[in-house]
Symmetry: C2
Subunit: 341 residues, 2 copies
């Protein structure tokens, strides 16, 4: 692959080069890249705003994360936050900090990933800048979405007896990370070693190329269900449920045998002598949605695709517990994925 | 000063601690910190969106930038982009990446600066997260503002014969940086040395604690002037004017003897054997506004406070030139402040 030094294009040339493929998709995008700020139009809609900062060595390891996947995931993480509000992501702004070891082609890969995610989810890239970094790669993305008054889902609306629902399956992204870390250690010991990924494509994809659950938000609309509370699962189900229960002033019970896990994640946990339920509860980065809904919606919920009812909301004094297969109760902990520890 | 390790609070505890003083000021802020995304309401208004990423060692040097000032400036830089669209900043989201050498008290200082800027400019902090960094300090701020249809100022609206106006004075932030760099070298040679800043308070403040020109945007409204194009001066007047002329498909003439410079900046340039006009044109970080306006607005413009008319827009084939005191013409260059070189 050719290598073009970033300095050959300069700051303005670079951003022009990286964004020349951008086409505007949303009517709400009045003015995209190329001014001091993007201009958006949201008459009658509520505006949702979120932001994520990804730092090399903390949030990603370029030894096994391809740059295109990194760009894709960085965008998805933001879309997921907007879906978690029961909204639709519409615009993103991207800021990159890059050190000298990156070429223009490297940045093209990152942008290719970001633009693919934008394409898949109908989002406009409306701003971007790139600056030098003295050390690693820094990726900051902010996302604006739209929501409707009365349909926005906060964290504080869960009520006693509400059902707790989870989309997809949990723990696979975490088990994928464990596999990548294991193979990295093998590689560092013997650079001739080839990684062993056969049969684990699903958990690798969950880690490297996650998707956001637009389909769930669409199903909720079609079935006319408004969750009482909703979050995306970035830090692990335990951590997110504790946020919902704290802000809603409730307790909860979830059931070990209801937690959805994939075959591959369970097999990898077995191979590594880990507990798959622990991975599902505390692993994080699944970008599934957890939401609470009224008991009245039960019939509709069981008809939804890719949804598991995993428990229910209780009085606050009952605390937050996982009920094991043996009936024993284990208190939920906010171990989560905490980069500050 | 006490030193509290960040790990003592944890990620969620930290952000709660840093943001507990936040009070919502704007009706458009429906929901601030504490959910997956902030919720904003902008009926009938256009939404402006901008973002800035500040990296230690590239955009700031903590040897002479106090953390509170850094937070203040990081917020101001974003507000300035919104004013440059003739809009009003309303909400910001802050993401911090911090390495182990920073304590909770350090982050409090940064937030104190950000919150002071928010207080002074009537902006709500509506989201924030903090994560670990393996190296230096990373500060990413995104800002949402509101604008009115028909009053938003883009870069591409300048027309032949329009007047070119600049707020405040230019080059002071750059000369302040030169002074700080000089005193840093002295200090590194002799740690007992005390810096010599007497008489240069203004240029230091311009570098360390810049303000955004809300007053200019307010005056434009009061006098019912809608600039044909506007930008904030972050990379230097030459660079910004070239952006306006390129996007507007025009040329321009500005006059050396009209460029506003402060006494202190000129004195420092003299002391350092530098050309103050070069500093004014290419120095950057002044966060003043440059705008073009119709000749019909001339009478109103001369009545505006803190505004200098520095030149006019020409046909594109006339190019972009500075007319010297001697009548000679020098082509404008986009040297600017380019972190990628």
């Amino acid at each position: 692959m050719p290598r073009t030094e970033i300095s050959a294009l300069g700051e303005f040339g670079l951003i022009k080069h990286l964004t020349e493929k951008v086409k505007i998709k949303n009517r709400s995008t009045v003015k995209g890249i190329g001014d001091d700020a993007a201009v958006l139009s949201y008459n009658d809609k509520l505006v949702l705003l979120t932001s994520d900062l990804l730092l090399e060595g903390v949030h990603f390891d370029l030894m096994y994360v391809p740059l295109k996947h990194l760009g894709y995931k960085a965008a998805i993480v933001n879309f997921s936050d907007i879906y978690a509000m029961n909204g639709q992501p519409k615009q993103i702004i991207v800021s990159l900090g890059v050190s000298k070891r990156f070429s223009v082609e490297d940045l093209e890969q990152i942008y290719d990933g970001i633009l693919l995610a934008c394409e898949n989810y109908g989002v406009d890239l409306v701003g971007g800048d790139t600056s030098a970094s003295l050390t690693g790669l820094t990726l900051s993305i902010s996302c604006v979405g739209e929501g409707e008054s009365g349909r926005i889902t906060y964290r504080n609306g869960a009520r006693e007896n509400d059902l707790i629902c989870v989309s997809g399956d949990l723990g696979a992204a975490y088990m994928g990370l464990q596999l990548l870390e294991r193979e990295k250690l093998v590689f560092e010991g013997n650079e001739q070693a080839q990684p062993h990924f056969d049969g684990y494509e699903y958990i690798l994809e969950r880690q490297l190329k996650p998707e956001a659950r637009r389909d769930i938000v669409e199903q909720l609309r079609e079935k006319n269900i408004i969750p009482t509370a909703m979050m995306d699962i970035s830090d692990g189900l335990s951590s997110e449920l504790l946020h919902i229960c704290t802000q809603s002033k409730t307790g909860c019970r979830i059931y070990e045998d209801k937690i959805p896990v994939s075959f591959q994640a369970a097999a990898m946990a077995e191979e590594m002598n880990m507990n798959i339920v622990t991975a599902a509860l505390n692993g994080g980065e699944d970008y599934e949605l957890v939401f609470t809904a009224s008991l009245e919606d039960y019939e509709k919920l069981v008809q939804m695709e890719n949804i598991s009812i995993v428990g229910h909301i209780t009085k606050p004094e009952s605390g937050c517990y996982l009920v094991g297969r043996d009936g024993g109760e284990i208190e939920l902990q906010a171990q989560g994925w905490n980069s500050l520890r």
